[in-house]
Structure formats: C-alpha cells, structure tokens
Symmetry: C2
Subunit: 369 residues, 2 copies
C-alpha cells in the first residue's frame, strides 16, 4: 500500500521515528547535477557522492535516485549492487526532501512527507522552483509500497531534527523558528507537530546552528544522538574558528539537558576542522537567476558531525584537514561496535552539506516485544 | 544486483522465458500521455489504462511507471495498492519496450533488454526519438535489483514473441523479418538469437500479423500459448473482415505445427469483433512532425487475442461489439481454472494496441525441482 494519510498522525497510529543507530533496511541518496550549485558541471561532486554510496554499500543496500538526464551516467558510475532509480529532483539533499521514516512495534514502516520549500521558500530559500524535491518523499514511499503522512502547511527538513527513538527530539531554534518555514506557528505549536509526527515527548532546543544562511542552522552539523541518553556535539577551543560560538553554546545547552525519560545526557565532544574550509572554483558554477550564488572564499559548512550511521558502521566526512584523523578517532570512541570509515567529501561541503545531508536511512522492519 | 550482462546469454546461464500462464510476481505498466498518439489529451486512454491496472490488481501486484509530468495525476487516478514509479518514456507500450523476464530452475529472475527502435526505427518506426523507451527495460530491472542481458544490435519487441516455457516460440515473419529491425540478419540468425535469449529449441513462424503498418504484425494480436501444447488463434469466417486472410492463414499454420517437444498443437479458435473498430476523434490528436499521424475511419487493431494472463485470471479487451461476450466465453473455455474479466479498452485500440501490449508480467521466483 502506498496511501496518503492526512487524517491521523504517526503518534495516533502508534508509529515513532527510530534513532539512526537502530537497525536499517537500507539507505537512500540522490545524484547531484545542478550546475548552478556544484562546481565543474557537478563532476567532482558526483565522484564524491559515488564514493559515499560505495562506502555505505559495504554495510547495507543503497538506492540512488537520479534524474532522467543523468540516469545513464549515474548508473555507469556506480557498481551493480547499488540500485539506481529515476526520480526528478531539484537538488541532491534527500535528508531534507526525502521521507522521515517511522516504525511501529509490529515492524511496519511508514513515511512522513514533510512539506519542503528549499530551506525558506520565497523568503530565504536557496532556489526556485522546488516542486520536484517536494515529491521525492512520496515517490520513495511509493517505490517501497508504504503509506505516507503528508504535512501540508507544515514545512520541515529531515536535517533539522534528530531523534533518540525513545521520545526525545533534538533541533535548533534558528531553523525551526525561522521566518521562511512556519512563521504562522508558535514554538509550542511546532513542538506539538514534532510530538505528533515523530512520537516525541520532549524537544531539546539548541539555539543556533552553524550556517544561518543556507539551512538556517540545521542540527545535523552541530549535534546528534549516539544512542539513547548520549549525544555528540561539535567542539573547539579556538576562539577564531567561525563556528566557535555556536559550538560552545550548543555544548552548554546539551550538558544541562535531560531527555524525555528524565536522563541527564552524556555529551561527547567532536572536533571541528583545524582550518575552515573555503570554497574554491566557484567561477565554474553557472549563474542562474533565482539561485543564491556561491563565491570563492566563502566559508563552507564543513562539520565532521555530518556523518551518517549505517548497520555496523559510521561514514564520516574528511576534508584534507589536520583534524581528519582526530575526528575518526573520536567517532570510533563514541561507537565502539561500529567500523568508522572516512570518505573525502570536501566537494559535498562546497555544495552546502555533507554525508548526513545526502543520505536518508530506511529502518529495518524490526518487531519490538 | 542490477548488472549488465553482454558476454553470455540466458541459455548459457540456464535461464528460460516462462509461459505467461506460469506463476507471476506482478505486472508492469506504463501510463499513456502522448497527445500526438492519444485522442483528447490522452484522458480517455488514461481512464482505460487505470481500469486495466485495477482489474489486474485484483489478482496480483501492479506497478505503473509514469513520466514526472504525469506522476501526480497518475497517482491520483490509481488506488494506493497500485505502485506508481517515475519513469521517462516515449509512449506506453511496456510489452514492447520493457524487459522480457527469464527465470532459472532456482527461481532466480533476470531481464532481457532488447534494443527498441519504435517498431522500425528510421525505416518505418512510429515516432522519433525513442531513447526513453529504450531505457525502460533496464530501469525496471534496476528497481527490482535484477541483472539484465542487453542485445545491442538486435531489435525486438516483447509483443512479437510468445513462449510456451518449454522450448517453443511463436512469432511472425512480417515482424521479425521486417526491414526496420534486423535487416542485416538472416532468418536462421534470428532464430539463433531467439533460441539463445529465450532458451528455445523451436520457432514456429506465422507469416503475417494483422497490422502491417504499426507493429509490422505482432504475434500478440494473432495467437498465443494457453499452456504447453495448446494455442489460441484468431478466427473469422467473414470474408469481408479486414483480418480474415491473416486469421485463416495463421490458423492453418498452427493446425499443422508441432512444438519443440514434438507435440502437435491443439488450436483453440477465438472470434474477432463482428464489426471492425474504426478510429474516431482523430481530430483531437496533436500533429507532430516525425510521428505517424492517425486519421478518422482507419481500422483499429482491435483483437480479443490481445488479452493478458494474470495469476488466476485473464484480462480481456472489450470493444462494445456484438462479439464481446462470445470472446469472454471462448477464453473462459480455454482457461477453465481462471476468472475471465473483460475491460472496455476501445480507447487503447485507438492508440494502436491493447491489454497485452500495455502490460508486462514479471514471473514469480518459483523453484523447479
């Protein structure tokens, strides 16, 4: 069944958003191609995306969705064990435009199909139109034959939330209270929506993310759950680092926080790059009206936090930075039972995100006693 | 795995094309939309396709593939139990551009991805370009995660062949020896290709089909296997019927034929429409250069033989003709264990085919001892 549910919520129907660390059925990705976002015709980005897909495929099934125009090229660049399916898109951030999968205790899976407006719509979105992106969640659910909840009138991206699977959601005020998403709703109304659609009892609000301009501060560059009761948070003691203040403030908030079950969170520190990553090669990015232009020298949102968790592994961005190895080591300590794999993804950061932003995990149909 | 096999054949690898009467996993369709082929913006055809999809869905899973432009409309017109997936196409005949599925004794499924050239390519094809259609087979196999054999340099449509699953293939000379497909190959070389890719030992050649102009005489309007050793063949005693001569000749050929196992075929007669079906409403079909135009009053290829077999059922075209009921009765006698369901599909005939042409069955992964 691939029905459209608008008259009930996951909470009402007994579905919850699981933690990313729970068992997965596989991973979804999109293939990058926008010449007005990716430098050099998108070719370096495509290589990086392919390397991410291959790294994940060593742990679990991967499906890459791709426009008709790029289908043959994408198919040729990926090994046969990776599934490639045609899907129109406006850019390649399936974390944000794809479904947030929810699961019930019988192991049944559904999708939440949030309204998507390119990170701010006509207020401060990054491009127009975004109609193809907004259909990605439903199309993914349809391929899988699962029902989806559509939140018409409520805008959210998957990268702006993390869940512990036990009733706690992590997010930022900078994003969820932004003017370009749901300005008609109060903070309390937004908390109610998160509660209803993720089956959460408590929202932990961090004030700021590290990219006010692009995603308006997605949480997935700042902090995440490692397991129930434990989070990771970006950390630097370098006061000149562009993300110093946001990192310090986020750490402080998390260090004081308790979760839905009343547990005080254990907070693991994750380093930032030693040197900020600055955009290069922006002169090869097409100028298109309606798309926010990129410029050489702008600070890229290069965070090691933007890793993705897979079955038995963690796939971590690498930036050719002095701290690359330290990040891998710290993440290995957080996840002692998983293999930590670094993938060079500076080209993904050049386009505005990283490994977590370009992936969306589908939970395994696990039955809970 | 969704690999591309070009260095071996189904025969070499132990795969065979099963009969359509064997157990199926589900049915594939495409969604019609070409305004230069379908009258009234394709809306009557879409309704007919939807009715076919719903009739099949009562027996087995159905997937309908649709362009991005028509995705939302198609999704809205079909019930949620029918899977809808985005797929670029040039028209809606998945029997001809989709994969021919083959199976081995372990129940493993693969696809044969024949080269497709719109029924004759630049020689006498029906439209140009056909590049999207030619990718349909591979995309279907990729969604299913199965390997496919590509026959570069060998053109064939699924509607031009029928198999008994036990080494016999039925086809027409009019189509397979046509100038627009494989004019560089002899009849013997073509037989070898059919043998290698369908795992067949014997090809039964019928001379002519009933539509020399469109498909160059596809077998699926003329005859098919009901089970190993038994075929159905169109039949009329009305010398004025436009298909009289082709029907008589086909019957005569089949009545004399033996199959790969040396059995003399039992031939069941299936009536034609009492009155020919003439195209109406052609003035609402867009004129597009490169597409063969349709004209009011032309004889449509309306054959009851163009039914499709599903698990436990047979879905049969109905033309608002005096013989509609007789056709259902005759088919019910051929398939005593299946429910025979008629669907009004004159609108599909207006576009050049019928239920068999717009469907492609995927075999169930049955293990054979």
């Amino acid at each position: 069944m691939a029905g459209r549910i608008s008259d009930s919520t996951p909470r009402q129907d007994g579905f919850r958003m699981p933690g990313e660390f729970e068992q997965q059925a596989g991973m979804w990705m999109l293939w990058p191609e926008r010449n007005d976002n990716w430098r050099d015709g998108g070719k370096p980005a495509q290589e990086a995306f392919a390397n991410v897909a291959k790294a994940i495929a060593a742990f679990e099934p991967v499906t890459v969705c791709v426009s008709a125009a790029q289908y043959q090229n994408c198919r040729a660049k990926l090994p046969p064990e990776i599934r490639v399916v045609e899907m129109s898109n406006d850019d390649a951030w399936i974390r944000d435009c794809g479904p947030t999968f929810v699961i019930n205790d019988q192991g049944e899976i559904r999708g939440v199909d949030w309204e998507f407006n390119a990170w701010g719509g006509l207020y401060d979105g990054l491009y127009f139109p975004w109609a193809n992106d907004d259909q990605v969640a439903r199309k993914v659910c349809d391929i899988e034959g699962i029902d989806s909840y559509r939140t018409d009138g409520f805008v959210l991206e998957g990268g702006s939330i993390h869940a512990d699977g036990e009733g706690t959601v992590l997010t930022t005020e900078m994003c969820l209270l932004s003017e370009g998403r749901n300005p008609h709703m109060t903070r309390e109304q937004i908390e109610t929506m998160l509660g209803d659609y993720l089956n959460a009892e408590k929202v932990i609000w961090i004030r700021d993310g590290i990219d006010p301009d692009e995603t308006n501060g997605h949480i997935d560059d700042v902090a995440c759950f490692i397991c129930p009761g434990e989070v990771a948070c970006i950390w630097t003691e370098d006061k000149n680092h562009p993300f110093y203040e946001a990192a310090q403030a986020a750490y402080e908030t998390l260090a004081k926080a308790t979760d839905a079950k009343g547990r005080k969170l254990k907070v693991h520190k994750l380093c930032l790059t030693k040197e900020p990553v600055y955009l290069k090669g922006a002169d090869t990015i097409d100028a298109v009206e309606g798309t926010v232009p990129r410029e050489n020298g702008e600070v890229c949102i290069a965070s090691y936090m933007n890793f993705t968790i897979v079955n038995g592994g963690v796939i971590v961005p690498q930036y050719d930075d002095e701290n690359d190895e330290l990040a891998l080591k710290q993440i290995a300590q957080m996840f002692p039972d998983r293999k930590v794999v670094g993938v060079s993804t500076k080209e993904v950061a050049y386009g505005g995100g990283n490994i977590h932003c370009i992936t969306q995990q589908q939970p395994a149909p696990v039955v809970r006693g």
